[in-house]
Amino acid sequence: MSLGRDPRAAVRRSALAAVHQRLARGGDAANRWPMSYGDPDGERRAVAGAIGLAEPGLYDKLIVKGRGALAAVRAAGLEGRPGRVTPAAPGGVNVWAIADDEVLLVAAVNTPGGPAIQAVDVAALAGPIRAAGLAATDVSSGWTVLRLVGPRVRDLLEELVAEDLSPDAVPDQGIVQVPMAGCRVILSRRDLGDIPGCVLLVARDEAEYIWGALTEIGAAHGIRPVGGTALVVGPAAPVAASATGATR
């Protein structure tokens, strides 16, 4: 089955579509990707001074499993290091090498209202990977990508996660799997320029709950839901790329 979809025929909805609509108060985000919830300057201030919480976009995801998974991914022309995210240029495939035998390939897709990118077809990688004897499974809808950025992100994570997530323990682009508010979360430290940050992969069916938990517990740290515009650093860094990959 191809991951390729006909945008004229079907509407792809985020697990957080209802959240975005509520935050946009029935505005443009009802049918378009939320680049802002109506106060882009305030959202940028949250990112610069406290914490911004965003769903940066929709992503296709292919999980590769089996002995030699990372080697097969490399053979398919992608870079990857165990325990690290290897970011790609905008529109490319971000390699989440959870372990030697489990690799998640993550690539942004175009969304109405979101930044235009030259999206790659992750499904095209499945064939050669399967031919190498590995299992490749489309899990695009199974995981939701969340982005936390801001100088107080570490304070929030200290409250939510028992594990040591300090820069010494988890280097930039490092991956850890942690329980957060009772749910399994795959976390990668990913700063935005000089601003601390991380990317969270959360199960689709728990995404709204996790969003709520982050918002509630993060209130004391000044957390604020932000649209894609607030995550842009520099003159032209697309938000979708900044979520899981290159940010500067």
């Binding site: 089955m1 191809s2 991951l3 979809r5 006909d6 004229r8 025929a9 079907a10 509407v11 792809r12 909805r13 985020s14 697990a15 209802a18 929709l58 999980i63 499993k65 089996g66 004897g133 590995l134 299992a135 499974t137 489309d138 899990v139 695009s140 809808s141 199974g142 995981w143 199960a203 689709r204 069916d205």
Partner: protein, 372 residues
């Protein structure tokens, strides 16, 4: 699809970690739509596993009393999983989508246990099999009823004719413009299509099907209607009609146990039940009168006070215009038409009513409508 169910004024029920629509206001009308036109139910909560690898078929054979290594690509088969003591742990279906790729469904509440069970049996072993939980990735609906095929024709270019997509077929293709896995199965007594799509498109699929079936009498139905419809077919619900002592041989699934298989989990225990014969069986019981026995109520030998079994589920079928039930009963009493006394409450309180043992499905016993 949660918001879509809210808009349809669903009454919710908790099932495991999930909330599911119990009904949309009129259970009888929902049942009638499935039998006379078409019904649509959200079954996204089913557990779903992607099982791949050169040893996947043999591994599934080991896990189950029936065979999957001989399942042809493009076919789906019922599965029930046993523990070492031959007790039913879980059921669902397995479809073969490619020579080394199987799509495996579990009951709503047992996903984690089944996933761990598979990983446990793979750990440290030589089998070249990988298991990936894809429950969150796929939303799923079941479209069922005599108009289901016509509705499918309106939303897919796949050939859904009886000849091309026969009962127990499995196919991949676009439905409402979305890549889908289509299983030609159903547990509600009518032609049915279980359609799995990436969950990001679940709401789109739900809306597209309701729109396509608007002039064909399609309406959504909930878990309560599904329970009635399943009971009309005498389909057991694992965990509701079975318990920690239930063997497939006694639960009416003896056909699953393939004695000629070299080995599978629960083989010795299952074959010992076959050898000694079932002591109790799960059977249908027609309830005479308007009162329905409670879950767990005793089944009593007619004319005596000797308990010979217990009710697991009883519902009123508006289609059949009578009460129907499933219950465990001593095997010697499970004779077609046998008259029994049913206590209405658990214990001696609440009075009694009369029942008749029915060993065949209450509705469409030959299965012609399901296979149509």
């Amino acid at each position: 699809m949660h918001e879509d169910h809210e808009r349809l004024a669903a009454t919710w029920t908790d099932m495991g970690d999930w909330k599911r629509p119990l009904h949309y206001g009129d259970v009888a009308a929902e049942c009638r739509a499935v039998h006379e036109a078409a019904g649509l139910i959200d079954v996204s909560t089913l557990g779903k596993l992607d099982v791949q690898g050169p040893d996947a078929g043999e591994f599934l054979d080991w896990l189950h009393p029936n065979r999957f290594s001989d399942l042809r690509v493009g076919r789906v088969r019922y599965r029930a999983m046993l523990d070492d003591a031959g007790i039913i742990l879980d059921d669902g279906t397995i479809a073969r989508l490619a020579p080394e790729r199987f799509f495996f469904s579990t009951t709503t509440g047992n996903l984690d246990a089944v996933d761990q069970w598979l990983l446990w049996w793979l750990a440290g072993g030589p089998r070249r099999v990988t298991v990936t939980d894809v429950t969150g990735h796929y939303a799923a609906v079941n479209l069922a009823g005599p108009n289901a095929r016509e509705i499918m024709r309106r939303v897919t270019d796949l050939d859904v004719s009886r000849e091309a997509m026969a009962y127990l077929a499995a196919a991949e293709g676009a439905v409402a413009g979305v890549p889908a896995i289509i299983l030609r199965i159903g547990f509600v007594g009518e032609v049915g299509y279980e359609i799995h799509v990436p969950a990001d498109y679940g709401a789109h699929l739900w809306g597209a099907l309701l729109e396509a079936g608007r002039d064909l009498g399609l309406r959504p139905f909930g878990v309560e209607a599904q329970r009635v419809l399943r009971l009309e077919k005498q389909h057991a619900i694992v965990g509701q009609d079975t318990d920690a002592l239930s063997s497939p041989v006694e639960a009416g699934m003896g056909w699953l146990v393939k004695a000629d298989k070299p080995d599978f989990i629960g083989r010795d225990a299952s074959l010992s039940v076959v050898a000694r014969g079932p002591r109790q069986v799960l059977t249908g019981i027609e309830v005479i009168g308007l009162d329905l026995p409670a879950e767990g109520a005793a089944i009593v030998r007619d004319g005596t006070s000797t308990a010979i079994g217990r009710i697991t589920r009883a519902k009123w079928s508006t289609t059949l215009d009578k009460g129907i039930a499933l219950g465990w009963i001593e095997s010697g009493e499970a004779v077609e038409g046998n008259k029994v006394t049913l206590r209405l409450g658990v214990g001696r309180d609440g009075g009694t009513t009369v029942g008749r043992v029915r060993t065949k499905p209450f509705y469409d016993p030959s299965g012609e409508r399901l296979r149509a």
